[in-house]
Subunit: 200 residues, 2 copies
């Protein structure tokens, strides 16, 4: 593993700010001049780093999808043999993501349709594989749950975990670790309830 301690490159700065702005105001709601201004350069300077506005969004969405999928696969492999542990690890990883990369999570299910056809296909494929990871893990823990229900339950839990962005300003909310624990409990509770009265 290459843990990076070096300063972020200009490209990375741009991606971070673009993600934040896209999440706040929507892809079409943000101009290239604003993105440039957010990193201290102005407008067309961005084109030294990216082919265009679309390319930024594409790189963001492909990046998230890949990170989610590879992270998920790693966790499944690490906890292999203990289904409960696999599901817990997936939940934990997703929560870390949702809490630490809010803008990306927001973009992930909001701006997919603004992508070029090929990129959109790629992202959808990665997303689908990630979902399948969860569905398989869930059905190991709850064998009585039919696959369509399992798929719907997984989507619903994604919605639950990704709800963090919609929270107002901090203050009236639990801190990060308490929040993570709360979300984890709720996700497990939701999965358990999904299986009740369903042949289980």
């Amino acid at each position: 593993m290459t843990t990076r301690t070096d300063a972020p490159t200009r490209r990375e700065q741009i991606l971070r700010e673009a993600a934040r702005l896209f999440a706040e105001r929507g892809f079409h709601g943000v101009g290239v001049d604003e993105i440039g201004a957010a990193v201290g350069i102005s407008g067309p300077g961005l084109y030294r780093h990216f082919a265009g506005k679309d390319a930024m969004l594409a790189e963001l969405l492909v990046g998230i999808s890949e990170r989610l999928l590879t992270g998920g696969r790693r966790r499944v492999a690490e906890a292999a043999g203990d289904p409960e542990a696999v599901l817990d690890s997936l939940v934990e990883g997703h929560i870390d993501f949702a809490l630490d990369d809010r803008p990306l999570i927001t973009l992930h299910d909001r701006e997919l349709d603004r992508l070029r056809d090929s990129d959109r296909k790629l992202v959808r494929q990665l997303q689908r594989q990630y979902v399948e990871l969860w569905v398989a893990a869930l059905r190991e823990v709850r064998p009585g749950l039919p696959e369509p229900s399992a798929r719907a339950a997984v989507h619903a839990v994604f919605g639950l975990l990704n709800s963090t962005p919609h929270l107002g300003r901090p203050g009236a909310l639990p801190g990060r670790t308490a929040m993570a624990a709360l979300l984890h409990r709720m996700a497990r509770g939701a999965f358990a309830a999904a299986a009740e009265g369903q042949g289980e």
Copy 2:
């Protein structure tokens, strides 16, 4: 109650199509010409019915928020005295909404920031009151749950229930009544789990 059986007015047609388009491609991603085309008139003809594109979005968002809040209040009043029934009724009402008015639910937490200041304030206020309804109902059922956690849990369950729009094309999914039952079970399970190990 005035149950309307008459045909929808032109205004209502426009609002319906605008909601669908906004949800699909984002507020800024849809042109007025497209909205017009969707109801069989073209472009500027819309201005006979609305002051502008912003006005359509405003009316949609204020409308949803009001419907959610008044519906919620009615349910709370109807089941008053039985906390469990209140919470169940709120969940049921929200599920009906999420399943039957998908585009509106999508817009509701996605395009709020595109509103004029005054409209945004109004919508936020209505949303806040709706959340408070849920928080109060939840804390009646789970008195051990501190308020910040209850608020976070309510938001998380909204995310869970509103996850329906993100589902791919039908087919590999439970039908409407099964889906409603599944979501209801999961929401109750999530709430129950939120209270565990929390002084309860």
